[in-house]
Symmetry: C2
Subunit: 314 residues, 2 copies
């Protein structure tokens, strides 16, 4: 295990000046529905409306001043782009973000709001990599990877660290699985700070590369996802995959039709906005009632950046 | 002035066991946009998702046990119906709620959720009154009026009482104006507990009966509103009108096209869901920047019961 308990503690002190300690909320309707106690870490209330600020803060705070001066570059379909743009704004440096041209409009607008240069490209990973590598080569800017890097994983771990500090005896923590930065960080946080807590990943049935890899032990490196959970359309990265294999207990799949339904129900009941990706854990544990009954269950809500002009229909 | 400072204090102790002391939140985007400081009383976080629980709690707590046993009846297009249903549920008595057949589906479902009998009627005030009067006659149930009653006004006043207790030196409080229960209660609360605070009502341009009456001094008793702010389609009641004339400083009108826009912007920025009615103050003070600059401005968010299957388009 390369990332140590000490690394996570250092990451927490690095990110602390840039992130909100978001609230852990309860939900009487979920509690009643599952006869369980839910503790919902609400990262949609971060300054950029998503947890991704944590990884970007940790990564950039490790860079030297000389490196920072040359600027940042990243590729992302959304919240990570905003996170890098936000950090560049806070640090007074330049950021270029490469975004697929089919990205959520709100996420594009938000990256621009923080002063980043947004470069749109074809919505395939090869195009994203090619464009961001070219910019890095031409400007000597540092590439901030969206998930496949230990500094990013350490940063994302800080959400679960705060959740565990608030609720020390959780039976489960359930986090969505996209590129795996959050889930691997969450698993590391539980491993070091709450070892009895079972960590579960939740993935859309229609973007089940992580589930397949987890079951076979061999990472799926290419996959064509088809889900409304726009934050989870990436395949799991190499580094996160290794931590997930070791530390995560299971991956639960969310039926596509339950994702929008669970999202709107959460909106209706709590008056809090969450992204489709955040509803993936709820849609996934819909069929796990027996496992959750009587348990203390942590959920990580990853963000609330919804494009209201193109909502899924019910 | 029939309602005294002492009446409001008594109302507060009556409603306290049934309502949440909802949070007063700030908003960096509104503050930056207006160079003002906003204090947003967030009544969408009440158990029924709206402030109306306050009036219903005060009203039913004044009734005798013998009266309560005969049940409650009311007519409402929405949140008041839920409030009466909720109070009946809490008190273990029967409630019949007469709702126009074009009511927001979520509000109908919620009234049923609390065990009320829902009777749908034609969406005109005459039908609502006729049906609820008939039920009251037949069952001896007590009619709980939605706004035109001093006990209801006292109850609704408690939202502003809490806001004033949290933020004692507000320059403005802005509340939406529908039937006038909330606005008259808010004005009374400011009159007794924060007399320097200027109270403003906000009304949709397309439901401007309150504005017309306020300007001429003669209540408009019949009006055909055409606004997405479904909570504000009623005309101002007789009793609220008298308090509003005396205690409210002005009524500001919200252009219809800004209501949905302000609502979605609030969702996007805060991740909190508000109803179209709650966006009416924001849409109304859009053209009042000069008045608000540098001021401490309280806003009352009335509820968050949105039908996501029929959202307004932008």
């Amino acid at each position: 295990m390369t990332i140590s308990k000490y690394d996570l503690r250092k990451a927490y002190s690095r990110v602390r000046p840039f992130v909100f300690k978001t609230p852990v909320v309860s939900s009487s309707y979920l509690d009643a529905q599952y006869e369980a106690q839910f503790f919902i870490k609400s990262e949609q209330f971060q300054p950029i409306g998503a947890f991704k600020i944590r990884g970007a803060a940790n990564f950039t705070q490790i860079l030297s001043d000389a490196e920072l001066k040359k600027g940042l570059v990243t590729h992302s379909s959304g919240n990570h782009a905003q996170a890098v743009a936000f950090m560049a704004y806070k640090l007074g440096i330049k950021a270029s973000v490469v975004m697929p041209d089919n990205s959520n409009k709100v996420k594009i607008a938000n990256a621009k709001k923080w002063g980043a240069e947004v470069i749109l490209c074809e919505p395939i990973i090869e195009a994203r990599l090619a464009v961001s590598n070219r910019i890095a080569r031409e400007t000597s800017a540092t590439i901030v990877p969206p998930f496949d890097h230990e500094w990013i994983i350490e940063g994302q771990a800080t959400a679960a660290m705060e959740l565990i500090a608030d609720v020390p005896d959780l039976d489960y923590i359930i986090a969505p699985l996209g590129g795996g930065g959050l889930l691997s960080g969450t698993a590391l946080a539980a491993h070091y700070f709450s070892p009895k807590t079972v960590v579960i990943g939740a993935e859309p049935e229609n973007a089940s590369d992580g589930f397949e890899g987890f079951k076979t032990g061999i990472r799926v490196s290419s996959f064509k996802p088809n889900t409304i959970a726009d934050g989870l359309r990436t395949t799991v990265g190499e580094i996160p995959f290794e931590y997930i294999k070791k530390l995560v207990s299971d991956i639960w799949l969310a039926p596509e039709d339950l994702i929008a339904k669970s999202m709107f129900e959460y909106w209706q009941q709590t008056k809090h906005i969450i992204e489709p990706s955040c509803a993936v854990p709820m849609a996934a544990f819909h069929s796990k009632r027996d496992l959750l009954k009587g348990k203390k269950v942590g959920i990580i809500i990853t963000g609330g950046n919804v494009d209201f002009t193109s909502l899924p229909s019910l």
